[in-house]
C-alpha cells in the first residue's frame, strides 16, 4: 500500500499553557474525503491552521507522501499543494471569473514590454480549468453575479488549477440550499477522481455521511477516533463529539402528550410584499412552536422581517394577542411584543464589542433605568438571571464581549435579549446555523421550555431535521406563498420537501 498523501502525527499545540491539541494524528489518502468533526473548541481549526502554516506546532510531525516536511508559514503550505477554502471567500467581485481564476498569473502580450493582458488566452486558460471539473460557468461572468455555491466552486477550480493536492473545506455548505449542496458534492467527487485529498469540516452530519469516506472526531483537543463511514451512525458520532449521549429528540417528542396551545398570540392576515411573499395568512398560538420551512429565497426570512417591521410590507394586517398592531419599524415590532432573532447574529444580532450584560439588556432599558440612569444592580441581576437560565457560557464572566463567545452562546444571548424584553411572540431565523451539536440540543430544549411558558414561536429554518424535530406544527413556503400545513405527527421529510419545492400537498 502506498504512503498516505498526508500524515499529521502526534500534533501538540498549546496557547498560553492550555493544550488545545493533544497528540492528534490524522492521515489522508489521495482521492479521499476525510471529514473532520467536533464541537466548537474541539481543535479542528487549530489543526487546520497548523497544516496551513498559520500556527506553528509545538510537537509532532507532518509528512507528505511519507516525507517529513516543514510548514512554518502559509507560503510553505502553498508550495506543498495545500489549499484552504474558507467560509468567507476572498475574491474581486467586479472582475470576471477568468480574471479571478488567473489573478497574479494573467497571460500577457504586447511584445517586449509585455504590458497588455491577453484576454483571449486568459479566457481559454480559464475555460480549460473549469472544464477539468465539468463546471459550466462562462469565464467572462462577473464574480458578483454568481451564486454563493458558484463562487465556492470557482475557488475550488482555482485551487486545482494551481496544483492543489490537498484541499481543506471549512463548513462549505453553511450558506447553501440542498440543490446547491448536491452541486458542490459533484465537484468534490470530481476532485476525488483527480486524486486530490479533501479534508471536509462540517457540523451537518447528514452531509458528512454522504460525502466522506472516513470520519475523524476531535473532542477537547484530543483525537476520539477515525472510522470508515459504514462503521458509524448518526448517534454514535454525536456521542463521540459530545462525550455523552443525547436522546433522539423526535422520539422523545413523539412520546410526550400532544401540547395544548393557548390563545392565538400572533396572527397575520393577507400580508403581501411584491417580489417577496404574497397574501400570507398564519396564526401562532401561545405555547406553540410553528416551523416555517422553505428553501433559501422562498420568502420566509423576508416574511419574518416584515412581521417585525425590519422591512415594509405592501398590505396586510398583523395582530398580536388579537389586537391589530401598526408595525412600521423594529421599534414598533418590539413595542407590540414581538422579538426577532435574525439570520446572521454577528452582523445583525449582536454588538460584538459590547459585553454579554449590555447585549442582553439592549431591548429593555425602560425597566432598568430610573431618573434617566441605569440601575446597575438591577441590570446585573436581570442579565445574570438569563445567563443562568439559558446556560450561557463565557470564559471571562458577564462582562466578556460577545465577540469571544461560541456561536451557540452568542445565539443564546440574542434569545436572552428578547426574553428580557418580555416579548409575547418570538420570530427565529435559522436559530442553529453555525451552532455545534451540543449547543444546538441545548437551544432546542430552551425553545421548548419557553413555549411551555406560553411564548409563541415562529421558527424559520431550511434545516429539515430541525423543523421536524422541534416544531409542533409546520408550514411550508414556496416562492412567497404558503404551500402546506402539517401537524407534527403528519409531517415527513418527503412531504415537507415536496411542498417546499412547490408541489401540491
Amino acid at each position: 500500500m502506498t504512503a498516505p498523501l498526508l500524515t499529521m502525527q502526534h500534533i501538540v499545540k498549546s496557547f498560553y499553557g492550555v493544550k488545545v491539541l493533544d497528540d492528534v494524528s490524522i492521515d489522508l489518502f489521495a482521492g479521499e474525503t476525510l471529514a473532520l468533526l467536533g464541537e466548537n473548541g474541539a481543535g479542528k481549526s487549530t489543526l487546520i491552521k497548523i497544516l496551513n502554516g498559520d500556527y506553528r506546532r509545538d510537537g509532532g510531525e507532518i509528512l507528505i507522501d511519507g516525507q517529513p516536511v516543514n510548514i512554518d508559514a502559509p507560503r510553505d503550505a502553498e508550495n506543498l499543494g495545500i489549499r484552504m477554502i474558507y467560509q468567507e471567500l476572498h475574491y474581486a467581485p467586479e472582475l470576471s471569473v477568468a480574471e479571478n481564476l488567473l489573478l497574479g498569473a494573467l497571460p500577457r502580450r504586447g511584445g517586449a514590454l509585455n504590458w497588455l493582458i491577453d484576454w483571449q488566452q486568459m479566457n481559454r486558460q480559464a475555460h480549460e480549468a473549469l472544464a477539468l471539473l465539468n463546471v459550466d460557468i462562462a469565464p467572462t461572468t462577473k464574480m458578483r453575479d454568481l451564486s454563493v455555491v458558484e463562487r465556492e466552486i470557482i475557488e475550488i477550480v482555482k485551487a486545482l488549477s494551481r496544483q492543489a493536492r490537498i484541499i481543506v473545506m471549512d463548513e462549505p455548505t453553511a450558506a447553501l440550499t440542498p440543490p446547491e449542496v448536491q452541486r458542490l458534492f459533484g465537484i468534490i467527487r470530481g476532485l476525488q477522481a483527480r486524486g486530490v485529498g479533501i479534508i471536509y469540516i462540517s457540523h451537518r452530519l447528514d452531509e458528512v455521511f454522504e460525502i466522506a469516506g472516513r470520519i475523524t472526531v476531535l473532542r477537547d483537543g484530543k483525537h476520539v477516533g477515525t472510522n470508515p463511514r459504514a462503521e458509524v451512525t448518526h448517534q454514535s458520532l454525536v456521542q463521540m463529539m459530545v462525550g455523552r449521549s443525547i436522546e433522539d429528540r423526535a422520539e422523545v417528542r413523539a412520546q410526550s402528550e400532544a401540547i395544548t396551545p393557548g390563545a392565538v398570540a400572533l396572527e397575520v392576515r393577507g400580508l403581501s410584499k411584491a417580489g417577496a411573499f404574497n397574501t400570507i395568512d398564519l396564526q401562532v398560538r401561545a405555547g406553540e412552536i410553528v416551523g416555517l420551512f422553505g428553501l433559501l429565497g422562498a420568502g420566509h426570512t423576508l416574511l419574518t422581517q416584515a412581521i417585525f417591521g425590519a422591512i415594509k410590507s405592501d398590505s396586510g394586517t398583523i395582530l398580536v394577542d388579537g389586537t391589530p398592531a401598526r408595525i412600521a419599524s423594529p421599534q414598533d415590532g418590539q413595542r407590540a411584543g414581538i422579538g426577532f432573532v435574525p439570520l446572521d447574529r454577528k452582523v445583525n444580532g449582536l454588538v460584538l464589542d459590547m459585553s454579554v450584560r449590555k447585549n442582553i439588556t439592549l431591548s429593555n432599558w425602560r425597566v432598568l433605568t430610573r431618573f434617566g440612569a441605569f440601575q446597575r444592580g438591577l441590570e446585573m441581576q436581570h442579565s445574570r438571571n438569563w445567563v443562568d437560565q439559558l446556560g450561557i457560557r463565557m470564559a471571562g464572566g458577564i462582562e466578556t464581549h460577545t465577540r469571544y463567545l461560541s456561536g451557540g452562546n452568542q445565539q443564546k444571548v440574542v434569545l436572552a435579549r428578547w426574553l428580557e424584553a418580555n416579548v409575547r411572540v418570538l420570530l427565529l431565523n435559522e436559530p442553529t446555523w453555525g451552532v455545534d451539536v451540543g449547543a444546538r440540543s441545548d437551544i432546542y430544549d430552551q425553545l421548548e421550555a419557553l413555549a411551555a411558558q406560553g411564548l409563541a414561536i415562529l421558527m424559520v429554518s431550511s434545516d429539515i431535521e430541525e423543523v421536524l424535530s422541534v416544531s409542533h406544527r409546520i408550514l411550508t413556503i414556496y416562492k412567497g406563498r404558503l404551500t402546506g400545513e402539517f401537524s407534527q405527527s403528519d409531517a415527513t421529510q418527503e412531504k415537507l420537501l415536496h411542498a417546499a419545492a412547490g408541489g401540491q400537498s
Partner: protein, 347 residues
C-alpha cells in the same frame, strides 16, 4: 485573549505617559512652559477645542462624524456680531446657539433620514455654514462690544462668559469641565450613552434590537451643533469680536485629538477621558512649540505626525505586527480584494 477592560486601561495609561513625556521635555526646553500662568493660558486656549471634542467624541462613538463644527462655530459668532444691536446681545447669543443646534439637526436629518454619507453631508455643511458666515459678516471681523452704550448691563454679563471666573476657574474652563463631567456621566450611566456605543458598534443589530437608532443619531448631530454654539459664545465674549474666519480647520484638530485618544472612525469604541488626554497632549505640544518659537507650519506638521504615529502604533499593536513575517511576505504579489458576505453587507 486579552481582556478588553485591560486594553482600554493600557490605552489610557500610554496616553498619560505620552502627556507626561511631552510636559517634561517642554519644561526642560523652555523655562516658561511649566509656569502657572502659561498652564492657565493653555487651559483657556483649549476650551474651544475641548468643548467641541467632547461632543465630537459622543458623536463618533455613535458612528457619526461632523466636519462642519468649525464653520458652524464661525457662523454662530457672526450671528452674535451682526444681530447684537438689533436683538440685544443676549438674545443674539441665544439665537446663535439655536442656529448652531439647527445646523446640527440638519446634518443629522441628512445623514439619518436622507442617507447621505456623514463625511459628505458635513463637508457640504462646512462649506455652506462658512459661506453664510462670510455673507452675513460681509467678510469682515465684527467688533462685539457696547458701541452705543445702551446695553451696558447685558454686555457686562456677556463679557463674563469669556472673562469671568467661576469657582476660581476661568468661565470657559469651568464650562468645559462641567460639560465634560456631564458627558462622562451620560456616556457611563444613561441609555443615551449606551445607545451611542451600541449604534456605533453595530447599527443594524441595534436597529433590529428595537433601538430608536435614527433618533439617537439625530440627537448626537444636534448636540454637536449645539456645542459649536456654546463654544462660539464663549469665544466671541473672550475676543470681543466675531470673525467669519474663526476656527478654520478646527474640526481637524478636534478629530485628531479624538482619534489620538482612542476613538475609532468606525464607531463603537473609545472614551471621553481618552479624547481629553488627546486634547491635552496636542495642546501641550502646540503650546510648547509656540514657546520655542516654532512656526505654525512646523506645528501643523507636528500635529499630523503625532496623529499618524499614534494611530499607526496602535494598528501595529493590534495586529501583532511581526516585522520578520512582513519582510518575508512582502514580495510583489497582487493583492486580492477581500470581500466576505458579512463585510459586504455592512455599510
Amino acid at each position: 485573549m486579552r481582556s478588553v477592560q485591560m486594553r482600554s486601561v493600557q490605552e489610557i495609561a500610554s496616553l498619560v505617559v505620552m502627556l507626561v513625556i511631552i510636559v517634561v521635555v517642554m519644561s526642560a526646553a523652555s523655562p516658561v512652559f511649566f509656569t502657572t500662568r502659561n498652564l492657565e493660558n493653555t487651559l483657556l486656549d483649549i476650551t474651544t477645542v475641548g468643548i467641541l471634542a467632547i461632543f465630537t467624541t459622543m458623536l463618533m462613538i455613535g458612528g457619526g462624524l461632523d466636519l462642519s463644527i468649525g464653520s458652524t462655530l464661525a457662523l454662530g459668532g457672526v450671528i452674535v456680531g451682526v444681530y447684537q444691536e438689533a436683538w440685544g446681545i443676549l438674545p443674539a447669543a441665544g439665537a446663535a446657539i439655536l442656529v448652531c443646534g439647527l445646523v446640527g439637526l440638519i446634518n443629522g436629518f441628512l445623514v439619518t433620514y436622507v442617507g447621505i454619507n456623514p463625511l459628505i453631508t458635513t463637508l457640504g455643511m462646512l462649506s455652506i455654514a462658512r459661506g453664510v458666515a462670510f455673507v452675513l459678516a460681509d467678510g469682515l471681523t465684527i467688533p462685539v462690544f457696547d458701541l452705543q452704550g445702551t446695553q451696558t448691563d447685558a454686555y457686562t454679563l456677556f463679557t463674563q462668559f469669556g472673562e469671568g471666573r467661576v469657582l476660581g476657574l476661568d468661565t470657559p474652563v469651568a464650562v468645559m469641565l462641567a460639560l465634560f463631567v456631564l458627558a462622562l456621566l451620560v456616556m457611563q450611566f444613561t441609555p443615551y450613552g449606551r445607545a451611542m456605543y451600541a449604534i456605533g458598534g453595530n447599527y443594524q443589530a441595534s436597529n433590529l434590537a428595537g433601538l430608536a437608532v435614527r433618533r439617537y443619531r439625530m440627537i448626537a448631530y444636534m448636540l454637536s451643533g449645539l456645542s459649536a454654539g456654546v463654544a462660539c459664545v464663549l469665544l466671541t465674549s473672550r475676543l470681543y469680536a466675531a470673525d467669519p474666519r474663526a476656527a478654520t480647520g478646527m474640526e481637524l484638530t478636534v478629530i485628531t485629538a479624538a482619534v489620538l485618544g482612542g476613538i475609532s472612525l468606525a464607531g463603537g469604541k473609545g472614551t471621553l477621558i481618552g479624547t481629553m488626554l488627546g486634547v491635552l497632549i496636542l495642546s501641550a505640544l502646540m503650546n510648547g512649540m509656540k514657546l520655542l518659537s516654532t512656526s505654525t507650519d512646523a506645528q501643523n506638521i507636528a500635529l499630523g505626525l503625532v496623529l499618524l504615529l499614534a494611530v499607526g502604533l496602535d494598528q501595529i499593536r493590534q495586529r501583532n505586527f511581526n516585522i520578520m513575517r512582513f519582510l518575508r511576505s512582502s514580495r510583489l504579489v497582487p493583492e486580492v480584494a477581500r470581500v466576505s458576505p458579512a463585510e459586504g453587507s455592512q455599510s
